[in-house]
């Protein structure tokens, strides 16, 4: 490999590849189960909040864009790049919070993971994604701690770029899940 920085990013990419297969397997299970149960959603089960989640999807995409702007600012030598990273983290945290509210409402409607396949596969896929968002937020918080200590610069941007790979993966995955679970 060309340099140690590229190695960091390659390691992150390898993790992401395994995650792609993991979510590919979950989505495959969803489609196979869904094809066998008619009607879908099953009678008596609540519909997912399409509108609220659309706004939430926009918020997560905005967060990804902010992170990208932060990276660009760092590479351009702009000292204020940390503000973009901080805003990206806040956007991600709001996404998880809104999703928590959504789950709470679904539970109020009586949709439980143990009730049937409909609830089980929904909570499994969306919960797995939410867990990944939380892990990615932990990574960004760690990066923000490093930023506060002045660890990163235009010449030493690799950790931020690697963290960005993971954050972009989490952000890009959600619209796919949204379309598959909420819209189709």
């Amino acid at each position: 490999m060309a340099n140690p920085e590229s190695k960091n990013q390659l390691a992150t990419l390898l993790v992401i590849l395994t995650e792609v297969m993991f979510f590919g397997g979950l989505l495959s299970a969803y489609w196979v189960l869904r094809a066998q149960i008619q009607p879908w959603p099953p009678i008596g089960q609540p519909r997912f909040p399409v509108g609220l989640t659309a706004w939430n999807t926009g918020l997560l995409l905005l967060s990804g864009w902010l992170y990208w702007k932060g990276q660009k600012s760092l590479l351009a030598g702009n000292k204020k790049y940390w503000a973009y990273i901080l805003l990206a983290a806040l956007g991600g945290a709001c996404f998880v919070l809104i999703q928590g509210v959504e789950w709470w409402r679904l539970l109020q409607f009586g949709m439980y993971a143990t009730e049937n396949v409909y609830g089980g596969i929904f909570y499994l896929i969306v919960g797995s994604h939410a867990f990944h968002v939380l892990v990615a937020l932990g990574v960004i918080l760690y990066l923000l701690w490093g930023i506060s200590r002045g660890k990163y610069s235009k010449e030493n941007a690799s950790p931020l770029l690697s963290g960005g790979y993971f954050w972009f993966f989490v952000v890009a995955l959600w619209p796919v899940l949204y379309v598959a679970l909420y819209l189709i």
Binding site: M1, A2, N3, S6, Q9, L10, L13, L14, L17, V20, M21, G24, G25, L27, S28, W31, V32, L33, R34, A35, Q36, Q38
Partner: protein
């Protein structure tokens, strides 16, 4: 010494797992078409099988391209 201990433990652990599996047999219904044979289910099963077979190949090609791009950029 360490390798000898690890090997003993591995054999012991494998034996316990084997006994546990053999002692609790059950019906395996892992194949989605075994318990539901409708047309939509079969199509979804075949489609996802093709998808999951091609996905790793696409990922490996993508990774290869990324490595090539980084290496090429570093050389130039």
């Amino acid at each position: 010494m360490w390798r000898y201990t690890l090997s003993n433990f591995s054999m012991w652990f494998a034996g316990v797992v084997l006994v546990a599996v053999l002692a609790h047999p059950g019906v395996a219904t892992a194949c989605s078409t075994c318990f539901s044979a409708n047309e939509a289910g079969r199509l979804a099963y075949y489609g996802t099988t093709v998808g999951l077979s091609l996905l790793p190949l696409a990922l490996v090609v993508g990774l290869g391209y990324w490595i090539y791009r980084v290496y090429f950029k570093a050389k130039s």
